[in-house]
Amino acid sequence: MAYTKRHDNRKMDETRPIEAKVGVIKRAHGSAYFKIGDTIAYAAVYGPRELHPKFMQNPERGILRVKYNMLPFSGQGDRVRPGPNRRSKEIALVTQHALEPVLNLEDFPNSVVDVLIEFPQTDAGSRCAGICAASMALADAGITMKDLVPSIGIGRVGKQMLVDLDYYEEAYEEESVADIPLAMIPTTEEFTLLQMDGDVTKEQLKEALILGKKACHNIKKVMTTAIKQKFQEGVKKK
């Protein structure tokens, strides 16, 4: 049976409901919360601060250090073993590469900006939620950056292209599934993350990029209003 209707009655190009908030962790220099459907990401930014060990320092620009961590109870029933593993290290690296192009790290030579991303609950699309949360937290930390980096997963179930797969769709067994997480810089429309699990045709990939572009522009709007909210709340208190 072809997958023509989504199990949660979403439109084909509709993301799950998004909730975003900034300044959720008091002791961090910047922090953010990003929830898309049942996937929740918390990001905390510390720095720029002094970098140790010293041999890692770069005199030309500051470095970005990302940590991606799923909490033991965050998965689909099975306990996620705590601590770094091959998967989390890879995702931390692609997150770092997705964020670096927008950051003006040359303002902070020899220093480091640490980004810690934690997931208390996941339901597919965690690296995308992590990138969204991290870029909001970096903005909150007052780091100079050219733009925010919204990110979304585009997928294929059977012949149908879908925006923002959840775990049910990603693990759909009756038809073949492909999953393409991507991140984009909205002002230049450049992609900073593009991965694929599964296979698609050339035409389907083009369609995925068009869908992703549209979704990223919408997510950026959500992120922008969420950041502004933090400062408007205070004004209302009057």
């Binding site: 720029p48 902070f108 007052g142 100079t144 950056m145 050219k146 400062f231 205070g234």
Partner: protein, 243 residues
């Protein structure tokens, strides 16, 4: 034609288009991309004629020349002290910038400042590689004695000081404490009574929280006077008891 998209005195977010057209010029916290001027830092938008700039509303301290800061001694070397500036970069206080006294070569430098001491000092220079030099040779700079150190948000420091120091001197007078505010967000408070110090901290925290709401000075003076009255009534009760 130039067209302004964001409103003045409102918060702009990185990546937000502030203005279109070549008439406007980008300054602090903004950059030009083709025809557009875009924010590259979270801040409040200010427009001065054609120049567009933003004032930060978050972020850590960044060392700048001529700033007076409060720094903590973290290490002692052959020719001076290394101090922590509450930023990404530590600063160097060399012997010749520390005191007018003659210090012999190889003398024990802990006699002057030991690890853990707090100093008010001024930044003399910052290099491109962010090597920071500080001095104690300017009026008002010294080692800080007993008291409390608190950390406040860097972008709130001008509000804590107030216009020509009006806010901080009001807190000083009302609480009878000594206060030093560093540009790097470190504040030193010293009073004869612990409750005076606590009241001063309370007032500073209130400024930090509510600096964007109008009528701040009135609310601070209200807070300080209310507490002073409480003290007076308490002492009155005590004297009555004695009678």
């Amino acid at each position: 034609m130039g067209e302004l998209i964001a409103k003045e005195k409102e918060v702009v977010v990185p990546g937000e288009v502030i203005a279109k057209g070549m008439e406007y010029l980008p300054s602090h916290g903004t950059y030009r991309k083709d025809e557009n001027i875009i924010a590259n830092r979270l801040g409040i938008l200010f427009i001065d004629g054609k120049v567009i700039k933003t004032i930060p509303v978050s972020g850590r301290y960044h060392p700048r020349r001529k700033d007076t800061i409060i720094a903590k001694v973290i290490d002692i070397s052959m020719n001076g002290w290394r101090v922590d500036t509450n930023s990404a970069y530590s600063a160097m206080l060399s012997v010749k910038d520390a005191t007018n006294e003659f210090i012999r070569k190889g003398e024990d430098l802990t006699r002057y400042f030991d690890i853990g001491d707090y100093l008010t000092c001024q930044i003399i220079q910052v290099t491109s590689q962010k090597l920071v030099d500080v001095t104690l040779k300017a009026p008002g700079l010294r080692k800080l004695g007993k008291g409390r150190i608190i950390e406040v948000k860097t972008h709130k420091v001008p509000r804590i000081i107030g216009k020509q120091g009006s806010m901080v001197s009001m807190i000083k007078n009302e609480t009878k404490t000594q206060i030093v505010v560093g540009q790097n967000g470190m504040v030193w408070i010293s009073g004869s009574q612990p409750q005076d110090e606590i009241l001063a901290i309370k007032a500073i925290r209130l400024i930090e929280e509510q600096s964007h709401i109008s009528g701040l000075t009135d609310r601070i003076s209200e807070l300080l006077k209310k507490d002073n009255k409480k003290k007076e009534t308490k002492t009155e009760v005590k004297t009555e008891d004695k009678k």
